[in-house]
Amino acid sequence: MALSNEQIERYSRHIILKEVGAKGQKKLLGAKVLIIGAGGLGAPAAMYLAAAGVGTIGIADADEVDLSNLQRQIIHQTKDVGKPKVQSAKETMEAMNPDVNVITYHEFINSGNILDIIKDYDFIIDGTDNFPAKFLINDACVMAKKPFSHAGIIRFQGQLMTYVPGQGPCYRCVFKEPPPKDAVPTCKQAGVIGAMGGVIGSLQAMEAVKYILGVGELLTGYLLTYDALKMQFRKVKLPSDTHSCAVCGDHPSITKLIDYEQAECDGVGL
């Protein structure tokens, strides 16, 4: 499929890059990325991927837009309060770029539906706000052999890592199991600077784009940490020995997906 004149103009800043070119842009247009969580991380990730011309973007979230979301979830506007987040996100992405086909999942992900949802996608972005979902996404991606980007944000801090099957540790290698309910604060309890979602969610979009294009080095085997107050990024090397991991190791003890109990204060939001 050749690029149209309009597409050549729209994506000209991509196409001029030797790492992208027309060939890379066609890869983006043919790619499918799933974003789980249309919130602080998912909003900027979805917008940059839509603008980049990622041809199919899935977005999963069971929540509705709340006024308190708008401080950071830039894909939603004031007029969208009360609307399903996936609907609002879809409208924004489609208005940005008609090349993008947006598929919405207005539901919670759980052990029963996640494998069916992720199976059609090339890359998954974890933009969720709670540990049960983060472990579920990790385990499902390991089992289904799907690459994904993990991220977390709180207060003035963020973290990011990329999992690619067979290329280093998964999230569970590093964090063995979810902390007990309410042991670790959420953004709702502890707060977060809005731009933190922009920084870290944009990095997740960057990892997805690099994966699709097959260029550069992904954040596999590292945890990137960002401290905004110190204005410091650190790329922390993770242990490469994954043999004993409960899910991606040689003899996994976790062979079925687990629905962990979610912190009550998280409400229903992904």
Binding site: G37, A38, G39, G40, L41, G42, D61, D63, N69, Q73, D126, G127, T128, D129, N130, F131, K134, A151, G152, I153, I154, Q157, G158, Q159, V174, F175, K176, P179, A183, V184, P185, T186, C187, K188, V192, M196, G197, L223, R234, V236, K237, L238, P239, S240, D241, D266, G267, G269, L270
Partner: protein, 69 residues
């Protein structure tokens, strides 16, 4: 002896354990922190026995949720 903690070089007393370092560094919620020494995990529950050595590089990896909500 000299060790590196989260990328910063520090002078600490000989025989320091990971458990003591966690206290000295005011690690938040130490029961949920993942610790690596020289790119190897220190099993949780073994911080008391994990003695640090000259030149060791220690990292604390924290749970971080956030995102949607």
């Amino acid at each position: 002896m000299k060790i590196t903690v989260a990328g910063v070089s520090k002078e600490v007393k000989d025989g320091l354990t990971v458990a003591q370092l966690v206290i000295d560094e005011n690690v938040e919620m130490p029961q949920y922190v993942t610790v690596t020494v020289n790119d190897d995990f220190v099993e949780s529950g073994t911080f008391e026995q994990a003695v640090l050595h000259e030149g060791d590089s220690v990292e604390f990896l924290y749970f971080m949720g956030g995102g949607a909500e």
